[in-house]
Subunit: 189 residues, 4 copies
DNA sequence: AGCTAAGCGAGACGGTACGTCCAGTCTTTCG
DNA sequence: CGAAAGACTGGACGTACCGTCTCGCTTAGCT
């Protein structure tokens, strides 16, 4: 019954925020500036996201939405291939410095604010589901041991990647992705 | 000729900072407040650590200093035991919420500031060296495969732990530590 | 041809505004809040009064409407009595703190906005006319000197009252009203 | 022992504020802008005056400080002359539109905030003292009736002036000042 | 009876200023 | 020179209101 929100603004704001975030990092994103850039009042931003952090979460959520679950069949090698594809995708996405910074800020924000935590958790959950699907397929087809704990495997795979992103800063390339999957699945067949 | 620095202040500041950090997280640590609490001038803090971040790194370094490398001999099981001990130690240390928050903030700080990055890296390196020693021992004794890439194994172990700390928020208890080590080494013997 | 305005709303809004104004002063009157209180859309308010200030003027106009011109005949004392009645009425009306605050805000609004100024001026003019009538009567009957400048007398009477309301904050009671009229007319007979 | 406030800043801020106030009125004075103009951080302004209103009071106080008490002797005519001088001074000072607006805003601020009220009251008190001195002199010399209530006279004089400033908006010139004093003292000799 | 212009509730929007918070630097006086 | 005290710059944050706007719905009164 009331004037509806201008949904276009949502997209414009998110896009501009994403751009700035990638280009200048978390601190480089200034709400006031962002609003001016988009041609929108600051209040319009704050009406949609109560906090800069919330906005950033939305941006990330948008990024996550793109990736998809690969599925190339049931053969043992294919499961490995699928996982390698997933891990390679993660590496490619997370390797660039601005992205690392962002993930770090996000992780920090998550632990600071419960509200944000749930948004982010939903986001990761989706991501994990994709991997879980592939693992389940492998276990069902007998390509992987049936007594495997998928949680643990995922922790090792994603964990190693994020560990390099956030803690050691080591490079993430295709070779690493391949080696990681191979090692992690060594005892899993 | 000049007045010497009051070395006592260093400890007091670090202690108070550690306390606040644990209690209220990174953002809860306000230099102004800290100085007042300790009964010291803000300048005194900044004379010792050029930045809030540097101070925080010092605090963490202090915490790291406590943990040590276990060494229980060469038998196969002992390598597993040693690693389990290390991972359990990490879990115990990192599980509490304030500690998680802190690690997150640190990771973020690391990516924000190169200066900080190197301090933190040195710190992690020390930690990794301990684990590497244990792994090397295992490989030397034949308990583990000789063609193992210790880097990868460590990434998986520490990675899984930090992944739960920073990304999923899942619990870290002794059972998890044990299961993690077992799975990760499944294909390594 | 079109749907007519709901005249009931006018009254409800004015009443609520008057109440808030008296209770919390000019700044305490927030259009958004007012509308919600009355159960009316903000637009409904703004359709009737183009500005918060205009609304406030309406409220005051309502208050003014209550006071009337006394007329007790032509005898000398009666002129004094009439003026005393008028001034006493002013004092009674303007003494309470919320009313003082209001008058102040009005005066400020008047000088801020020409549009408002004219509304308020009309309002004061009415008030002044009443007093002028009494003075004219006195001069006609010979009770007051014929060469009197009624403007000046009114300035002194009303001025003194408003001065206390707005500048000194001094009390306004019946005694003051009486003394004021007596002194002001001392040289006027 | 600590770094002292830069007293120069006080003056610069006040001067710039006074200037803007006179030129653009109360609403035209924007703290952010003011600070930038003076070349000072906004915090520096807020450290000295907790509120824009407090700052404005300071500005006015500065203006008041200039005016002085005239004294031309004890003769009856001289008392009238002295009062006329005072009233003429007030008229000259208060007639310009920006000044009127300012006084109005001040009066409003006074009634809004007790803290401000006391500052302003002190300020008016000083002003009244000057006039009171002249009246007392007149009464002592016999030029004015001994049973005069100086309060009342001052209320009528200043009141009329402020009334025109704040309520009617009528002109304030030298003629008016003269006529006002004459009329007000008509019954006072 | 139906068309239509205006009223209405709801709430988004642009715009503008406010006052607050912190990091890090600078300045002064004392030991 | 070190330390205490606290002023200072600089920059962002989130909030508060005003007055305007845009919806979809409702209601006279003219055709």
């Amino acid at each position: 019954m009331a004037r509806p929100r201008n949904t276009e603004s949502d997209g414009l704001i998110l896009a501009a925020a994403a751009d700035t975030l990638l280009r200048s990092g978390y601190d480089g994103l200034v709400v006031d500036e962002l609003a001016r850039t988009v041609g929108v009042a600051k209040t319009t931003v704050y009406r949609r996201w109560p906090t800069k952090n919330h906005l950033v979460v939305s941006v990330i959520a948008g990024w996550q939405a793109d990736a998809d679950v690969p599925d190339s069949g049931d053969a043992a090698d294919d499961v490995v291939d699928d996982l390698t594809a997933i891990v390679t995708g993660m590496c490619r996405a997370l390797d660039p410095a601005p992205m690392r910074r962002l993930v770090a800020e996000l992780a920090a924000a998550r632990l600071r604010d419960d509200d944000i935590a749930s948004s982010i958790d939903a986001l990761w959950a989706e991501r994990r589901a994709a991997t879980a699907t592939v693992l389940a397929r492998g276990m069902a087809s007998g390509a992987l041991r049936a007594d495997l704990d998928p949680e643990l495997v995922m922790d090792q795979l994603a964990g190693a990647v994020y560990y390099r992103v956030l803690i050691t800063g080591a490079v993430l390339d295709q070779d690493y992705a391949r080696a990681l999957v191979r090692t992690a699945l060594a005892g899993a067949r």
